[in-house]
């Protein structure tokens, strides 16, 4: 992601709001997933307990992450996997490239993984002519269209069936069809061939179990099962926060993740991978490589408020519940991770100065916190990041980058507000003056901005009245009425 300013975010959002096809897709997605999630919660009677347990497991893990990571690495290696440590995105990409070159892989299949999106792995591989084939249907669609995911669970949700039919017609040379079975059938034929020819498979990881060195990956299409079992080499990229201490902990997360993400009791496939095959006759790859990636995570870990960002299990429930995401979709955020959790982790991964608008892309309604299966207090994190933006403290949480710059006009406005509002006399006098001035803007008891000059005089009022009328200051304030008659009805 390049530097995304508040202005470009605003423009992205405007483009999204003016795209009726996108908005209808978003409405459909967020409502369907929201309703499905709500319905499937009824299938467990201790949802709140599960959330509590999941969070305490995550807290415990994060408090002793060094210990659990070492245990995970030891146990995975004992089972025959090879562990690689990546400090940042560039190093993670270099490791993948080296591993692919070592096994002379030219045909590479890949499953959907946010960690690989985060490090822009495909772009790095394309540069050296080793572009992998995305095998998740949605991810493959956007790869064909040269786009990026707009949702962390359903990456191609912004595209309509018609657009996909046209895309397939153009890229695969099939007859245009709006029959889903025809479209998926065409995808299957192409992808099966790619699997058959593949030398190496690249995947992400949902959970890594310290106790056994096992990785768990969830999916519905079976492509991850193929990616991780068919090619001779499997490379798994995993953020260091994906660890859980014990195998039994998976029970909690397997109940929470599918319900929160897709409203399913369980995904169609759960692949548990512990090292390589035991004997030559077994199925599975000869080599399993697990890359443990930091890429900014240890900075988040260092601060007591931001640490909870690492509890995220990437279910996407907060995206679906977010009123802002519901309107503008994922691309408008201009970052790999969109929605409320994206607004929290992107600035921490990339540095606040390159994503300072994201913590402000929220009405702080708290719907995200309500649906989060691991009880991350996203509004609290957004407020924390906003304070860091204002205070210019790219402290422990933000990437080491230059000082943030808020608009001087905003700083001045808040100083003025603090000055006037902190003294009742100044406050009352100031608002009496405003009451006199507003006579120029009030018509029929409303400020409707018809004359336009208000927006130049008071920009926030201009922004407000572009789509809404404003209520004028009352002729007599509450305190004036109280002063007149404190004992009886004021």
């Amino acid at each position: 992601m390049d530097h995304l300013t508040p202005e470009t975010f605003k423009q992205n959002a405007r483009d999204a709001l003016n795209d009726p096809q996108l908005r209808s897709a978003l409405r459909n997605l967020t409502k369907t997933f929201g309703d499905r999630r709500q319905a499937v919660l009824a299938s467990v009677d201790n949802w709140e307990d599960l959330r509590e347990r999941a969070r305490s497991i995550k807290d415990e893990t994060l408090a002793h992450l060094d210990k659990y990571l070492e245990a995970f690495a030891d146990n995975a290696e004992r089972a025959g996997a090879r562990i690689h440590w990546a400090h940042d995105a560039a190093e993670a990409c270099r490791i993948v490239i080296r591993l692919l070159q070592e096994c002379s892989a030219t045909n590479i299949v890949k499953s959907k993984s946010m960690a690989t999106e985060e490090i822009h792995l495909n772009a790095a591989l394309e540069e050296i002519g080793l572009a992998p084939v995305e095998t998740d249907l949605g991810e493959w669609i956007i790869q064909l269209a040269h786009e990026t995911p707009s949702h962390i669970v359903v990456p191609a949700i912004h595209k309509s069936k018609k657009q996909i039919a046209e895309l397939f017609g153009e890229k695969l040379g099939i007859e245009p069809s709006d029959d889903v079975a025809v479209l998926t059938g065409a995808a299957r034929r192409v992808l099966r061939q790619r699997f058959a020819e593949s030398h190496a498979g690249i995947s992400g990881v949902n959970f890594g179990v310290a106790e056994t060195g096992t990785i768990l990956i969830l999916e519905n299409e079976g492509n991850i099962r193929l990616t991780t079992s068919l090619p001779r080499v499997h490379i798994a990229l995993m953020g260091i926060e994906k660890i859980v201490p014990r195998f039994a902990d998976l029970d909690v997360f397997l109940k929470l993740l599918p319900r929160s993400g897709t409203g399913q009791q369980l995904t169609a496939y759960q692949s548990l991978i512990t090292g390589v095959k035991r004997s030559p006759g077994d199925e599975g790859p000869d080599e399993v490589h697990i890359i443990l990636m930091d890429n900014g995570r240890s900075r988040m870990l260092a601060h007591p408020v931001t640490r909870q960002s690492l509890a995220c299990i990437r279910c996407g429930a907060c995206l679906n519940a977010c009123p802002v995401y519901q309107q503008i979709g994922g691309h408008a955020y201009g970052s790999v991770y969109p929605g409320p959790i994206g607004a929290v982790i992107t600035p921490q991964l990339m540095g606040l100065s390159r994503a300072e608008q994201l913590p402000y892309a929220s009405s702080l309604c708290g719907a995200c916190r309500e649906v989060c299966p691991v009880k991350i207090d996203i509004p609290e994190l957004l407020l924390h990041l906003r304070a860091e933006v204002v205070e210019g403290t790219a402290s422990a949480t933000a990437a080491p980058d230059g000082p943030m710059k808020r608009k001087p006009s905003e700083r001045l406005a808040f100083r003025f507000y603090a000055f006037v509002w902190s003294n009742p006399r100044r406050y009352e006098r100031g608002l009496k003056i405003a009451r006199l001035l507003q006579r120029f803007g009030v018509r029929k008891g409303r400020i409707d901005n018809a004359r336009g000059f208000i927006s130049r005089l008071v920009p926030p009022l201009g922004a407000w009245t572009a789509g809404r009328d404003a209520r004028p200051l009352a002729p007599r304030s509450f305190r004036e009425q109280w002063r007149d008659n404190p004992g009886g009805r004021p």
């Binding site: 708290g366 719907a367 304070a387 003294n423 209520r471 109280w482």
Partner: protein, 250 residues
Amino acid sequence: MRVSLFITCLIDQLWPSIGTSAVEVLRRAGCEVVFDERQTCCGQPAFNTGYRREARGFAQRFIEIFEEAKPDVIVSPSGSCTAMVHHFHQLFPDDETWRRRAEALAAQTYELSALLVNVLGVEDVGASFSGRVAWHDACHGLRDLGVHSEPRRLIRKVRGVEFVELHNADSCCGFGGTFSVKYPEISVAILDDKIDAIQKAGVRAIVSGDASCLMQIEGRLTRTHSAVRVMHLAELLASHEPIPQTYQGA
């Protein structure tokens, strides 16, 4: 019960009838109402935009003023500003004394409907209003304070009222403080989903517990020439409309 009234600056300056209605309702519920004129703002705009230093100043001022009258409880006809008082302690991570004072004050600060129903045990305040109304859950009241059933119980006891539930009663109206003017297009797009539900519900009035959400909703309703009225819960509870025969006993 001695109740210290916290009137938010929005109510004070833009919508004073919410304040006067709250006084009337509280008195009818048997409270002695006091109002300290030194109060101005809880500092929420500063807190929510990241200006913690300014917010800290507001919080300290607020705590000093409201401690002084030694009321039994503090009440505000605003879920959002009450929630801000409940957040004050976050502003003093390294100051034990102020944090304690903030927590103590928060423990006795209530949103209006929560005070009426949960503390005073009052549901019927003797109000009457004729017509169909719906409730909008203001986010901070709902999710920070857990106010959900209280306003509904109070509304159902208003004579002449037919209460209907919006399918999206608990979703955000798009206000979000400075969000509403930083990203006005997104704010209004969110709002339009709410307006749509209100129009479809065929209500005479949409009622909520926060002046901020009500201003947001009202601004779009009048802009689109809707006849639906916006009312704060306090205003509804202070209403004494004559009820047509057909509504009696409803």
